[in-house]
Assembly symmetry: C2
Homo-oligomer: 373 residues x 2
Amino acid sequence: MSAIRYELIKTCKQSGARLGRIHTPHGVIPTPIFMPVGTQATVKSMTPEELKEIDAKIILSNTYHLYMRPGHKLVEKAGGLHKFMNWDRAILTDSGGFQVFSLGPLRKITEEGVEFRSHLDGSKHFISPEKAIEIENSLGADIIMAFDECAPYPASRDYVKNSLERTTRWAKRCKDAHKYPDRQALFGIVQGGMYRDLREQSAKEIMELDFPGYAVGGLSVGEPKPLMYEVLEYTTPLLPKDKPRYLMGVGSPDALIEGVIRGIDMFDCVLPTRIARNGTAMTSHGKVVVRNAKYAEDFLPLDPECSCYTCRNYSRAYIRHLIKANEILGARLITYHNLYFLLKLMENVREAIMEDRLLDFRREFFSKYGYEL
Amino acid sequence: MSAIRYELIKTCKQSGARLGRIHTPHGVIPTPIFMPVGTQATVKSMTPEELKEIDAKIILSNTYHLYMRPGHKLVEKAGGLHKFMNWDRAILTDSGGFQVFSLGPLRKITEEGVEFRSHLDGSKHFISPEKAIEIENSLGADIIMAFDECAPYPASRDYVKNSLERTTRWAKRCKDAHKYPDRQALFGIVQGGMYRDLREQSAKEIMELDFPGYAVGGLSVGEPKPLMYEVLEYTTPLLPKDKPRYLMGVGSPDALIEGVIRGIDMFDCVLPTRIARNGTAMTSHGKVVVRNAKYAEDFLPLDPECSCYTCRNYSRAYIRHLIKANEILGARLITYHNLYFLLKLMENVREAIMEDRLLDFRREFFSKYGYEL
């Protein structure tokens, strides 16, 4: 009995994109969906109520960060991550693999797992597939990810092949270690870098383990976007139609739409929250770097076509002032807007799929946003 | 025709404290009241809606900071401070005097005004009483303060005497320069340091100018609290009964209650918002430094007796985690609680005055909070 169930509602006749629903222990998620990132058990600057106002149905939290601080045992004592952070909708946790591998010289990979030093205090740690799942079991998210290696870009064929094969062996160990498959759905991750045959090999091996959902990993790691789209084009069709498909680490408006067109159901990215804190807003007419001097006396909202709380109440001039003055409210207002913008975009994408016009929607959206098709 | 009107409702039979109301162009303010500080046109980390949730009726903003950034002309173009920051209740602006005098070696005082260098970029500026009022007129607050010199503590009798006499001359110039007395009430400020006869001289001189409200300045500048209370005891009775009295820069729970008992109606202080960002909460049982290790596994709310949003939804353990991890939500949650705590305290103080039992209230509050009477 799986913790989640994917329901395919329809396929867009124009684009092939999927409209669906994921039933989770903490509510139903319409797909395609964007998941705001709450790395340290908080979506930076936002309360859970605000996330609900903008209709977020699922958020992502980072296992590596929570393991380091405040520690998964503490979160477990608090009654799990939902209760700890006061969020009663769905949560997905990554496995920590991506963060650990990003530590570079601070880590050492063996068949058993990864030894690394904390980014906080330099203390020594070891995460194996079993340990990652133990942590994710303690955190208690609705969807948890297998401990994989996300190969860098570029990487040699040999490196990627070895790495994906180890990822398969680790996926098996994750599945065996998972204590609560009826409460937490463990997703497998397809690797294989930018090599078609390796993607095929990885998809085959991971699918043999029969997970309730699959992620495409190893993309959005620095490769050009056309290459990412090409890999998606031959990878997504390998995945089963009755399970959700998650493209990790993607959150720019163009890549979200292109990903959906290539059959993806779920996305996450720190982009909207990170650029917000820097003073950059996503708007229907492209990015607005509100920090720039040209907005000093601009009394329009961030996005005149947006009806979010920020755009209904504040001017670019005021928000620019807040950002320049390092005021918390500045980060709050832009974060709120950016997340609203992406969640609204995904709502519009779902509507376009329902009406079999996602390619038309892409053309209109891109032309307004200022993207090249 | 004055912009505001003070209405004395009653005097506490037990303590002599005043219960009243100030009618302003942006609503009625029950007194005694605490005013949250929004230095840079934002009460740090809070939205206007949140300030309304906790029943803030008036906030303070700092003229010096807004003059420096984003500039008073910009705020005027935006339609004034209320519109710029989306706050439709009352605002008080200080005169910038306190900040300018605090610049120490960066400033030079003459009869004409104060020359100083910006704390932001070192640029040279000159603020005279006329300039301060011009800025405050542009900002458009309901209550504006005269440009005074707040003498340091300790200071010699001669220094304080010269300074208060100049403050009187400047108060006259402020009054003459004020363009909108029917829309903005200009308050005079009584100085005189810790010298009784100088306080008497200053009160007499300032009252001769007939302002719609009076502040007691030059306190809470480093002197021991008993000395501040002593100065208040002989200064407040000098002020007219039919005008509001404002004690500048005071916001610790004990000093608020002691100030009210000595006849004060209005207070402001950065204390609740500043200590919040450091991880310290004010609670009915005293300060809780939630950043401390002993709260790591404490799943109680900041103040188990408090019914604010923060205390209804989050544990000390979670808030401690947020503060340790430098998460904006941590500052938000404690700021919200601390301001709620002080505004609720003042509500309780008003109720105690109404029921002629403010001294009883003080005894009970102090004993629980852990203050010595």
